[in-house]
């Protein structure tokens, strides 16, 4: 009597503990092995690009926080930098330094969430708690600077909303000192753990050519050996003034994508230390007209956000409202390759691969 075999379709999401938000993957499973995967985003689609067309340039800033809400400072920075390039505004030096400090803090906070979520997706809940405990301190620094922890809306076209409060620099320095100890703690608890390595090493291999062809970016790309970090490759703001390396890993598996983020956090600490040390005095806001009316034309600029290359394309028709705003969201494009990447792996690996891609649904659905 032949045993009838049948594949069954499993809906992983939209409400699932480890899809990092409202995201569904329709998995066709043969037992535990994935035969076909069809990711379905769109549950968190708020139409930010349509809303932006009905708002003035400054009013769009609070919407950019809601893209990648784990690193809202970097999202502000990407948008604001595009408008400044369109209008040809030069941002004062102190504002650039503040942007670098606050942007790198946001990068650390975002990587902490990625590391913690990856550890908890694989079962190690304690790792999640430790990374979030350190992230709390960064959120307190943000609260001091801009008044809210997650959705900063701190940067303005031409500079930053307000100068750093006086208690900020000493508190930031103290955080950086304490943070290097906790980095060692993560390595001890998560990176060095043999079970974690067995679950992530050689899982979800991504070759360099495939990564470039699928326009992946950020830690996902650099873990496959492609050294494309905009802070070094196409420097913007004042990054050339700081020495830091871009960590690179070669065999492009889940472990490398995870470990690369831990290394990047150490680099960000270096950048912030140098930025805090040489913070110049001066204004934090360039002289800009009260009503911002950029000249007609279009611009596309990119910055290196924590998830990858965040591009902003703005078309202006000379009126105070942008004609068209398009956000190149790294998590959305990194997800494009998920369908092939999880094919042939187990359900438990789908969770590990999704965790290593580190997507945020606010950014995927825009």
């Amino acid at each position: 009597m032949a045993v009838r075999q049948e594949e069954f379709v499993l809906n992983m999401g939209p409400q699932h503990p480890s899809t990092h938000g409202v995201f569904r993957i329709v998995l066709t499973l043969d037992g535990e092995t994935v035969v076909k995967a069809d990711p379905v985003p769109g549950y968190l689609h708020r139409g930010i690009e349509k809303l932006a067309e009905a708002r003035t340039y400054t009013q769009v800033i609070p919407y950019t926080d809601r893209l990648d809400y784990l690193a809202s400072m970097l999202m502000n920075w990407g948008y604001v930098q595009a408008v400044e390039k369109l209008m040809g505004i030069e941002v004062p030096l102190r504002a650039e330094y503040i942007r670098v400090i606050v942007g790198e803090l946001a990068r650390i906070a975002s990587h902490l969430v990625a590391t913690g979520a990856m550890a908890s997706d694989l079962g190690g809940l304690t790792g999640f708690l430790y990374t979030f405990r350190d992230r709390e301190e960064i959120l307190d620094l943000f609260e001091m600077v801009c008044g809210s922890r997650l959705t900063a809306s701190y940067m303005r076209i031409g500079g930053v909303a307000k100068d750093l409060p006086e208690g900020f620099v000493p508190k930031a320095k103290e955080f950086l000192k304490k943070f290097t100890l906790s980095l060692a703690e993560y390595n001890g608890l998560i990176t060095g753990n043999e079970i974690f390595q067995r679950r992530t090493k050689n899982v979800g291999i991504l070759s360099a050519e495939k990564a470039v062809d699928m326009s992946l970016s950020g830690p996902v790309l650099r873990a496959s050996g492609v050294g494309h970090d905009l802070r070094k490759v196409r420097p913007y703001s004042i990054y050339p003034q700081f020495e830091f390396e871009v960590p690179l890993r070669t065999n492009g598996d889940c472990f490398d994508r995870y470990y690369l983020r831990v290394l990047e956090m150490a680099e960000s600490v270096k950048i912030i230390e140098q930025a805090l040390a040489s913070l110049p005095e001066g204004p934090v806001m360039a002289k800009i007209p009260r009503i911002i009316k950029p000249p007609a034309g279009e611009v596309y600029t990119e910055i290196e956000s924590s998830k990858g290359i965040m591009g902003v394309y703005i078309v202006s028709d000379g009126s105070p409202k942008p004609y068209r705003v398009h956000f190149r969201r790294p998590s959305f494009i990194n997800l494009g390759y998920l369908a092939e990447m999880v094919r042939g792996w187990k359900v438990a690996d789908v969770v590990a691969i999704l965790g290593s891609l580190d997507i945020v649904l606010g950014e995927v659905d825009c």
Binding site: G42, V233, E298, Y300, R328, D365
Partner: protein, 156 residues
């Protein structure tokens, strides 16, 4: 801000040289003064293949589209991995039947971006492996990002 200027001092002339070479290689492209390449629709695939193979632009960073009511623009941004040079390519298409050859055969990265443009702006990409809606519900008619999209707006 001296550092940025001396970095861009090096990249600016090279960028211009690349644009000049491309313009020479493809007479049908006209380069706008802002350095954008305006490519006609029918020669798009040939130009893009040439840019990828001969000029080494192996990374398609961004694909998007804009609705200008009389016509539509599809915009591509290419770059060479590891180098600061970027190309901004604009293709003008008719608004009534917006059809553009898909870039997926050349760059896999266009897969989801073109689906998003089809979903929100209604641009049809020929030879796209699976062109269907990605963000909106499959039963959604019309394309919201078009300028003449009527919707029962709650609070605007």
């Amino acid at each position: 801000m001296d550092d940025i200027s001396n970095v861009s001092k090096i990249t600016e002339p090279v960028q211009k040289r690349i644009l000049a070479k491309i313009a020479a290689a493809h007479p049908e492209i006209n380069v706008s003064e802002a350095g954008h390449l305006h490519v006609p629709v029918d020669s798009l695939t040939a130009v893009m293949r040439d840019l990828k193979e001969n000029f080494g632009f192996d990374y398609l960073s961004n694909v998007t589209a804009v609705d200008y009511l009389e016509y539509m623009n599809v915009v591509y941004d290419l770059c060479r991995v590891g180098t600061p040079y970027m190309l901004h390519i604009i293709v003008r298409i008719d608004r009534e039947n917006p059809v553009v050859p898909s870039m997926v055969p050349l760059w896999g990265g266009a897969l989801w971006q073109e689906r998003e443009i089809y979903d929100l702006l209604g641009v049809i990409f020929t030879k796209h492996p699976d062109l269907r809606r990605i963000l909106l519900d499959d039963t959604w008619e019309d394309h919201p990002l078009r300028r003449d999209y009527q919707w029962m707006s709650g609070r605007d």
